[in-house]
Amino acid sequence: MSKFKKGGGKGMPAISTASLPDIVFMLLFFFMVTTVMRETTLKVTVTPPEATEVKKMEKKSLVSYIYIGSPTKSQQSQMNLSTKALVQLNDVIYKREEIIANSEIRKFIDSERRQKDESEIPYMTTSIKADQNVTMGIVTDVKTELRKADALKINYSTKKAKDAN
């Protein structure tokens, strides 16, 4: 019985929580550093259409983005553009005719490929982020150029819609 002491006495020494903030800060920095938000400033407005049968994109580092939409208000006034749909590759916007005439998509895909390891090239995907109001003419042009550049894996970027059923 003497083994069970009443409370008081010496008691358990409190565990030092002084290092807890350090651990949490470490976690915090880990998250802050790893969430690299790769942002290209959008010069075209893109409201993706909705779809239900969507697939999540894997391996974000292997995805190159092509944006299609009408230029933003500020771009319109700055560069004297109409609301006609344009194609944005990296930070530059191109007219439909320029895409075809200068094979800009091919250059874009080639530069993306140069940044990657050779073994990764077959897994590269091109995500077409097109506004829901653009017409298929420009999208088809982009697709034809992609075919010429031999970038055949594509993904039509869509929002996930609630399933009707």
Binding site: T17, A18, L20, P21, V24, F25, L27, L28, F31, M32, T35, M37, P48, P49, E50, A51, T52, E53, V54, K55, K56, M57, K60, V63, I68, T125, S127, A130, D131, Q132, N133, V134, T135, M136, G137, V139, T140, K143, T144, L146, R147, K148, D150, A151, L152, K153, I154, N155, Y156, S157, T158, K159, K160, A161, A164
Partner: protein, 187 residues
């Protein structure tokens, strides 16, 4: 002198953890890495010269035509039926038509021979809106996904996306997704 004897009172660092946690949670919540999702497709390679285009029998082609006014025509062999888009954006009759076309297995003489031979041909025009195009692509994908799911439930008693890669491949081979897209026609 007095302070030396008593010692500087230690600042309580117990709440430091709470502050750090608060920051951590703030970052975790606000960094919404917008998950990219979309409909995956594979483009056909550019045709090489002097390669003969294989002929496909009429009964094995399901033609979907979207015109510049976003009206849809569909049918086997040639687009004959007008397809209406429902208010909620679904085009259910199209999906069911595609499903019966694929699973015909040579039953009806004017429908596909086998799922393996069935081809969906999607044609659109210059002025077709991207939104309608995606809606149709979505319905076509849905038709295939539902067929694959039904098959996997019959064969393995599980949903398609719960199967392992090998089993998924078997079912994909049974219902290969063959959506052909012709060049956009002007007007």
């Amino acid at each position: 002198m007095a302070s030396k004897r008593r010692g500087l009172p230690e600042i309580n660092a117990g709440s430091m953890a709470d502050i750090a946690f608060l920051l951590l949670i703030f970052f975790l919540v606000t960094t919404t890495m917008d998950v990219d999702s979309g409909i995956a497709r594979k483009l056909p390679p550019m045709p090489e010269e002097n390669v003969e285009i294989p002929e496909i029998h009429k009964r094995n082609i399901f033609v979907v035509l979207i015109n510049k006014n976003n009206k849809i025509l569909a049918g086997i062999g040639s687009p004959t039926n007008v397809i209406e888009i429902n208010g909620d954006g679904s085009i259910s009759s199209l999906k069911d038509d595609v499903k019966t076309f694929i699973t015909n297995n040579g039953g009806k003489p004017n429908s596909s021979d086998s799922p393996d031979k069935a081809v969906v041909s999607l044609q659109n025009q210059e002025g077709t809106s991207y939104k309608t195009y995606i809606q149709v692509q979505n319905e076509l994908t849905k038709a295939y996904n539902e067929l694959r799911n039904e098959k996997s439930n019959v064969d393995y008693g599980k949903d398609f996306n719960r199967l392992n890669n090998e089993e998924q491949k078997k079912i994909k081979d049974f219902y290969p997704m063959k959506v052909s897209e012709a060049e956009t026609k002007a007007n």
